[in-house]
Structures are given as structure tokens and as C-alpha cells.
Amino acid sequence: MQEIEAIIERYGAQRRHVISILQDIQAQFHYLPKDALMEVAARVRIPLIELYSIATFYNCFSLLPRGEHIIKVCLGTACHLKGGTRLVEALERELGVREGEMTPDGRFSFETVRCVGACALAPLVLIDERYYPKMTQRKMTQVLARLRRPRPTAEAER
């Protein structure tokens, strides 16, 4: 794959760069396709199982395609104390999927993360890398409603 080759060239085909290479692939494709992993293993000349270990070990990698909108609920300590778990449950109810899964229509992926470093404004939810501070279940419902509207570029307001 040309794009994979370009990414490898960016850092150099050495083992110590595999994590950066995988991160760029993840950023571009929103997940790590199997073929991409096999190509990287071949080019960088590391056993496929070792690359697969790395891909499954770290949080930032996903081996499955992710949805159009990626919702991340922060479950850091401050966010947990201020109701983060309730937000997770609310999303599970609203989206009909468990955390870590994607809705069948491919529109939403929903994950939990451990601390995005904005703890003073707990509980935090990130939607497409945008921060929503002091979230409540009600606000979550409203934001989801806005995102669900069938517009090509749904703008989520704060």
C-alpha cells in the first residue's frame, strides 16, 4: 500500500519507530487494518506476532474500524467521582451498544478513557476530540440528538 509505505518512510523502517508508524496509520485510517500491520511487519522486519502484541497492548490502537463520531467518556478519578460512570450508562442506553463498541449504522463509536488531564472540569466527555466540560446526562442527550440529525456536517455546539 502506497500510504503505508509513505508512513514508514517518514520515520524509517526500524523497530524503534514502529509505535510512531502505527500511530500515524491509526490516525489516517481510524484503525489498524490487518494488511497494514502485515506490511509494516514485513518492511520493518519484525515478527508479525510482535507487532500484533504492540497493536493490542496499547490503548490508542484499534483493530476494528471505528464510527464516524468517536465519543470518549473520561473515567479519571475526578470524573468518576463526579458521575462519569452514569454518563457511560446513559450512553449505553442511548446508543444501544456497550463501551468499546460501534453502533450498527457506523455513526458512533463509544469508548472510555482514563484521564484527559482537564480534571478540574469533571466529568468530561470528548466528542471527535472536542472537550465538553461538566457534562450531565441531560446535556449528553441533547448533544447526541444534535449529532444524530442527518446533516453532512453536524456541528455540535457546546
Binding site: 506476532i49 507487532l51 500484533y52 502484541s53
Partner: protein, 239 residues
């Protein structure tokens, strides 16, 4: 060469040798599970922990011998730790004769955790065997933490696996299944009997003749051996 004390006995050994080697040099046996002399030391099962003079517990297989170190291989803290580790192991994989034997040797008589009947304790011997001895690197660890397991890439048939069987050979828990374990208890206890039950049935002690766990006579319970029991390697076994 470095001088250190193990259980109060002085021993001299090459710099950089492990505490396990130092103890073995003195004939002191420390239980191990994930260690194998032909493979790199991994330090994962923690069964070989020993107590250092400063109070820390460290794995003997990976800790390097240092001048003046004081080591205790069977202190009360070490024994308590080993017992809990064995209890944890049994809760994962009760049907392993190796683990049941360890339990017997360490007086572990109960398992207080919910039992999961898995076939792997993640000791990593198979991974190291495949990588270091067979140079294949067909299997490895995936995921992290409580989700960690051993498999091939994408759980698919491996192209580099040569079907050598080394992983099966080296596995400490799948080599021999214990036949005595019955729910709900995860500890069989039959191997703890001081009087082996095979002599009345067979000519000699079956376990030491290489049929460990196969003859089935020491396995407790009301099941009996009779003419309908199948035979394995020429001997009647319970099923």
C-alpha cells in the same frame, strides 16, 4: 566471583548468576513454574520469590547475585506468598497435575476464589520456546492486564509455525491433566495421601514409572476400577 549467604550458608558464585543458581549450587530447591534452564529467565510466576536482607521479596530466577547479599529461600513471608500464589494459580487452572502437586507440597488446602477452568497460566514458556529455541516466533502475548492471553496473530493459523510441538512439550499445565478434581472444590487432595493406592492394584508405584496421573487409583471418590474401565498404556484407568 561473588560471595553471598543463602539461608545462612555462604556460597561463592560467578558475578551476575541468579539467586536461583546460587541456591541450586547449595542443593536448595526453590519451586519454579515459568523458569526453564534452556530459556531466558522471565520472572512472571513469582513462585521463586526469596526474601532479601532488606525485607524485599524478589524472584530468584532473575535477581543477580551480589556481594554480601543475604537471602532466605523459605522464610514465613515467602511461604505465605507462595501459598497465595498457588491458590491464585489453582483458581485459574485447577485441572493441572503440576499445580495440584505444588498445592500438595505447600499445604494449600482450599481455593477461596471463584474458579475459572482455563488451560493457561500465562507463564510464557511456550512463547519463549517458540522464539528462542525454535526461532519461529509464531505465538506471543496479546492484550494487556486481565485480558492478556497467548495466541497467533489475529488468532489465525500461523504461517511460520512448523508444528514442532515444542509449546505443548514445555507447557507446565497441559502436560498432564489431573483426574481427581471434581467440582465444586478446586483442590483434589488425593496426591496428598501418605499411602499410595496403586500397589494393591499394580506391581509398583505407578507415578514414578512415568504414568503420572494415568493409573487413576489414587484419585479419590467412590469410583472404582473394574473390568469395564478402559486401559491406557496397558493399565486400567478411571474416566
Amino acid at each position: 566471583m561473588t560471595k553471598l549467604r543463602v539461608n545462612g550458608i555462604e556460597v561463592e558464585i560467578e558475578e551476575g548468576a541468579s539467586l536461583l543458581e546460587a541456591a541450586q549450587h547449595l542443593g536448595i530447591e526453590i519451586p519454579t513454574l515459568c523458569f526453564h534452564p534452556g530459556l531466558s529467565a522471565y520472572g512472571a510466576c513469582r513462585l521463586c520469590v526469596v526474601e532479601l536482607g532488606d525485607g524485599r521479596l524478589v524472584s530468584a530466577c532473575t535477581y543477580p547475585a551480589q556481594e554480601g547479599l543475604r537471602v532466605r529461600t523459605h522464610s514465613p513471608r515467602v511461604m505465605r506468598a507462595r501459598r497465595m500464589l498457588i491458590e491464585l494459580l489453582l483458581s485459574i487452572c485447577p485441572s493441572s497435575k503440576r499445580l495440584q502437586d505444588l498445592a500438595a507440597e505447600h499445604q494449600v488446602e482450599r481455593v477461596r476464589f471463584a474458579v475459572r477452568d482455563e488451560r493457561c497460566i500465562l507463564c510464557g514458556l511456550c512463547v519463549r520456546m517458540c522464539a528462542e529455541q525454535m526461532m519461529a516466533r509464531a505465538i506471543g502475548f496479546v492484550n494487556r492486564g486481565y485480558r492478556r492471553r497467548i495466541t497467533t496473530p489475529f488468532d489465525l493459523r500461523s504461517e511460520v509455525c512448523r508444528r514442532c510441538g515444542g509449546c505443548l512439550y514445555i507447557c507446565p499445565v497441559c502436560e498432564a491433566r489431573c483426574q481427581g478434581v471434581e467440582a465444586p472444590s478446586a483442590v483434589c487432595g488425593s496426591c496428598m495421601t501418605p499411602a499410595p493406592t496403586c500397589p494393591p492394584v499394580y506391581e509398583d508405584l505407578a507415578c514414578y514409572m512415568g504414568a503420572a496421573g494415568e493409573c487413576g487409583t489414587c484419585v479419590g471418590g467412590p469410583r472404582t476400577l473394574d473390568s469395564h474401565s478402559p486401559t491406557v498404556a496397558g493399565r486400567r484407568v478411571r474416566v
